[in-house]
């Protein structure tokens, strides 16, 4: 029990942020109205994705330095979990855009680059499928993973700032901290981020354990 405190914390925080996210008061604003609540669901997805991809890069580096198969499995499973969160991030963003921008996919730079960043990781998964030999696959995939990570950072954090975007916090649009004058939203937003990151990490450990059991069965 004492070892799984972070799982309980994650579950409690996600439940709290979901309930409070729908029921707590939000500032009344034109255009945004109640859709500002998407902040509690959309943004944590991206944070969780970044954390999971960073975990994956960490294990890829570990794999290259000591060639332990376990690190390769951890790297691929955290990418799997991260991709799941990325897809959820894109979907929640598209639903929000449908109501505030009038169109689910308006080819906004932020949307395009997020989609391309996910393509990088789909390419990583395709690369893994293309190689039959286990150790070779692990090594080449680790190298591509480390190579792709800085590109993803450039795609998500640098390039959108270069051009106009409708996304809050970009292109001269105010981010949520401009609306959150009495810190009500922060009380929900920060726990939501932490909760979803913990849940994401939990999903990744589960995926890893399943794949480790499957691996032992076949040997």
């Amino acid at each position: 029990m004492y070892k799984s405190w972070w799982k309980i914390l994650g579950a409690v925080l996600v439940v709290y942020s979901t309930i409070a996210g729908f029921l707590a008061s939000v500032p009344a604003l034109p255009i945004l109205h109640q859709s500002i609540r998407n902040l509690y669901f959309h943004v944590p997805m991206w944070f969780s994705m970044i954390v999971l991809f960073s975990v994956s890069v960490y294990h890829s580096i570990k794999y290259l330095s000591n060639n332990n198969e376990e690190h390769d499995m951890k790297a691929v499973q955290s990418v799997n979990a991260g991709v799941l969160f990325g897809i959820l991030g894109i979907i929640t963003g598209a639903i929000w855009a449908k109501f505030t921008w009038g169109q689910a996919w308006s080819f906004d730079v932020k949307q395009n680059f997020a989609a391309i960043a996910l393509l990088l990781y789909f390419a990583y998964l395709v690369l893994r499928n293309a190689i039959d030999e286990d150790q070779k696959r692990a090594k080449i995939a680790a190298i591509y993973n480390i190579f792709a990570f800085p590109m993803m950072v450039v795609l998500l954090f640098v390039l959108p700032r270069l051009s106009d975007s409708l996304h809050p916090g970009n292109g001269g649009n105010p981010g949520f901290n401009a609306y959150d004058l009495d810190s009500h939203m922060r009380m929900v937003f920060y726990p939501a981020c932490l909760g979803w990151i913990l849940i994401g990490y939990w999903i990744y450990t589960l995926l890893f354990r399943v794949s480790a059991i499957e691996k032992n069965k076949t040997v």
């Binding site: 290259l64 393509l119 690369l127 070779k136 590109m151 450039v154």
Partner: protein, 219 residues
């Protein structure tokens, strides 16, 4: 010092091989020239944005063809031979430098022929040249590393395209923006951001290639 000697020797080897067969250069130049000609026959007259976009699309495919040869073409035996006589760092540096020269030559020939055929010159030709130089630099650094990964995976052209497109898309978007500024003849100070981003991406890719290639090379 040993490294510089090895790099010089390997570049010499590449040039000698190229000079003997003249296959890569002639093939790719013919590829570019015929593509430009096909585009001319189908568009007849082109201006501004479309002219620019078409140029970069032609260059993208030409450079994939040109640079992917660097590793995919080497036979297993020759790779083993180079492995015994040179350090991996010397190999990746020499291949990248050789590819940069090849791409610069190719891009200049392509740009010359392209402006000639379509009878259209961008407002700010100097800035456009800077964009093409930066473009060939980025194409060669990125594609050299990716072709090394693809050749190790032993699954040639298909994998090359899947792995490189997500990485090259951000570069292409910045390049198109930069060259669009040149076409419109905007003041050069406007384009400093894009030039900076391209240089940063190049440095990032170069550093990661140098760090990762020794692991990739060792079988």
């Amino acid at each position: 010092m040993q490294l510089i000697k090895e790099v010089k020797f390997l570049i010499g080897k590449e040039l000698l091989l190229e000079w003997r067969s003249k296959y890569a250069l002639n093939g790719v130049v013919l590829y570019v020239v015929s593509t430009v000609f096909v585009c001319f026959l189908s568009f007849v007259s082109l201006r501004g944005v479309t002219w620019n976009a078409l140029f970069w699309i032609i260059m993208l495919f030409a450079s994939i063809n040109a640079v992917s040869k660097s590793f995919l073409q080497e036979s297993k035996g020759r790779q083993l031979y180079i492995y015994t006589i040179a350090s991996p760092l010397a190999l990746i540096i020499s291949k990248t430098i050789y590819n940069i020269f090849l791409m610069l030559l190719l891009t200049l020939i392509a740009l010359g022929f392209y402006t000639l055929v379509f009878d259209y010159v961008p407002e700010d030709m100097g800035l456009y040249l800077v964009a093409t130089v930066l473009g060939s630099l980025s194409f060669s650094t990125i594609f050299t590393m990716i072709s090394a990964i693809a050749s190790k995976a032993g699954n040639g052209g298909m994998l090359m395209a899947i792995l490189s497109f997500p990485v090259i898309i951000p570069v292409i978007t910045v390049l198109i923006k930069l060259s669009k500024n040149a076409i419109d003849g905007l003041d050069r100070s406007v384009s400093l951001d894009e030039i900076g981003i391209l240089l940063i991406i190049n440095v990032l890719v170069a550093v990661f290639s140098l760090m990762l290639f020794p692991y990739l090379w060792r079988d």
